[in-house]
Symmetry: C2
Subunit: 380 residues, 2 copies
């Protein structure tokens, strides 16, 4: 198995792109990644997209996006794993290069959510839950997170405000980020007085509807100058229903993917300098931090509130705003996380730079933990 | 890159499974493949499915099917490439083992179409065409094939009956096939007097709505006794719109994938003993035969009518009935084709056995050729 590195990254601004379709967003991000790498030849394209069938009625996005970037004919395939589509597609791209079967592999994620009525998007997002046993009840993804939020507070005595701090911290990091959907501060007071979305989760604790695309070009490490090496890429799944799990507050898919990634990369959580986690709601972010083994179970919310995830804290997290503030175009999100980690490891994160960042981790999660992809990257 | 072989195959009967959902069908096929291989440990699961989002509202099928087969936690991902989903998922599974990253990879395809109204299925099938430029006109997949059918007759002087023979030949091969949806003969007279579906294509020239699941277990060739080796697995795409192509009657994706596969496997069309092609309509089957380079362009229909694809013909094709008669549960179809090819190469095809079959090919195609996966298998 040969070593694989990131040769280039690209992304669009996250937001409501009323004037552009998914193909245009995809082309902007992927062509930016090729330009960044100064390398235009590719062997294989992976496309991460979650809700194209629900929202645009569109399948066959592999062939369509190959054509959209001016490369009709290219081997291309769409990967779907709910909100983890981006991270899982990256994993497939990594394997394609590591195997020696492909040399230059482009992986792009795209989601176009803002053309639709909010209820259509909510219903499509619930497509990542079991239709027969869970979604048919009418529960939303946020509703499921709300169950975990209540249980977390009950078991560990965390206050709603401590959990809410995750959103405020994310917004702090988005200030000045050109590609962020909401590049401004949001005080904990604003978070905690925003309307209820799914009691006890408030609107300002949830990522919003967004359009965007992000892309990464991978290649053999020995052919890339000053590349960022992929030292581990793992995927795991879990029971979809939280009732079927060992314990609802333990995200086994996250634990499994992370444990394996640490082992492969031969690092421990304390070696990680920069981290991107999946905070489509605040409680998802808190549980992720714990099951990635950065904080003890039950301590995450308290430590986030105290500042452990800020730029000068123990583990600088969601350094460009995360899903909440940079934005969450779901199928693309896992690739934004990886591209942002690469920016940090290159030392090109501008005013968001974490000094001396050498090892970074990105965690891309679907639903309330049904699929999780973990990537560890290292500056060489 | 290490050698990869098929360790086991499994599939359900194709038909209208009103009493079972997609998870149950998937479990039946995949567990049969594991039993066939006498090997229960797997590292990775790939799930091929085209229309789950359209028809069941279901995403995240990777995690769901991992749970459905009693392996929650397993790395699992859904692959979608329209009707080529099965062939493309097989390609990903092949790469995973060839790379040495995974040892035992299970790839299963499933589609559940019969719970829905026919118009919902027709609309979902059109999801594989460009929504912005093609599908919005209301044209169906069969309608697009009808355009090619007319042009083919015009350019090459083929008669509708010659093209219609593809369906009659497929049905001949389905007689006595336990897993076939329509295991009976269909005379050319019945084909040519059936109602018009999309003029000049008649209903009995089209694959029907079907449910089914098929699966293949792949592993390292040196660990499998009497395995069937995968000597080539390729994927290519093309412009989705037939108007954008070099010539509407040349399926460039098929040509590209096949040319590369012949090169990698170091064989020529005349070396292939058994063939499975994509005949969701008769004309798709005819064009596939030509662009896989078995017949000269323009000669396919005539030669099929004359018997060149029968069991004793030049290239025994669709030996268990193909999409028309074995059936076409779209996301699973590419894996039925591969499983059936394995049966032939094992010499276990019963009354459908082609004597001395040593090298087989399967072609899995989406739309009117937007994506094509080609697999070449060999008895070792």
């Amino acid at each position: 198995m040969r070593r694989v590195a990131v040769a280039g990254i690209g992304f669009t601004k996250v937001g409501e792109h009323w004037d552009r379709n998914f193909k245009e967003l995809f082309a902007e991000a992927t062509l930016a990644a090729l330009k960044d790498a100064n390398h235009m030849e590719i062997d294989q394209l992976y496309v991460a997209n979650m809700m194209g069938a629900h929202l645009q009625g569109q399948l066959s996005m592999g062939a369509i996006t190959a054509e959209a970037i001016g490369k009709p004919g290219l081997p291309a395939v769409r990967i779907e794993a709910g909100q983890a589509s981006g991270g899982v597609a990256f994993h497939e791209a990594f394997k394609a290069v590591a195997s020696g079967i492909n040399d230059w592999v482009l992986v792009g994620g795209v989601e176009k959510m803002s053309d639709l009525l909010p209820e259509a998007v909510t219903s499509a997002l619930a497509g990542a839950e079991e239709q027969d046993y869970t979604a048919y009840t009418g529960v939303t993804k946020t509703g499921l997170s709300a169950i975990l939020h209540r249980l977390y507070s009950h078991e560990f005595g965390a206050t709603p405000e401590e959990i809410g701090w995750f959103a405020a911290r994310s917004h702090d990091n988005a200030v000045g980020v050109a590609h962020a959907q909401y590049p401004f501060k949001l005080s904990i007071e604003r978070v905690m007085t925003s309307p209820m979305e799914a009691d006890p989760i408030r609107m300002m604790e949830c990522a919003a509807v967004a359009d965007g695309a992000a892309a990464v070009l991978l290649g053999p490490a020995d052919k890339i100058e000053a590349g960022i090496e992929i030292t581990a890429s793992t995927v795991a799944t879990d029971h979809l229903s939280i009732a079927a799990r060992k314990h609802p507050l333990t995200l086994e898919a996250v634990k499994k993917a992370a444990t394996k990634a640490y082992e492969i990369a031969k690092v421990e959580p304390r070696d990680i300098d920069v981290l991107e986690v999946t905070d489509d709601t605040t409680i998802d972010g808190v549980l992720s931090l714990e099951d990635l083994d950065f904080f003890e179970k039950g301590m995450g919310a308290k430590l986030v509130a105290q500042g452990a995830t800020t730029r000068t804290g123990e583990i600088p997290t969601n350094n460009f705003g995360g899903l909440k503030a940079r934005g969450n175009p779901v199928g693309a999100t896992g690739l934004y996380q990886i591209a942002e980690t690469v920016l940090q490891l290159r030392g090109k994160a501008g005013s968001n730079q974490i000094p001396e960042a050498k090892i970074g981790m990105a965690q891309s999660m679907a639903g309330v933990g049904s699929t999780c992809a973990v990537t560890i990257l290292r500056r060489v």
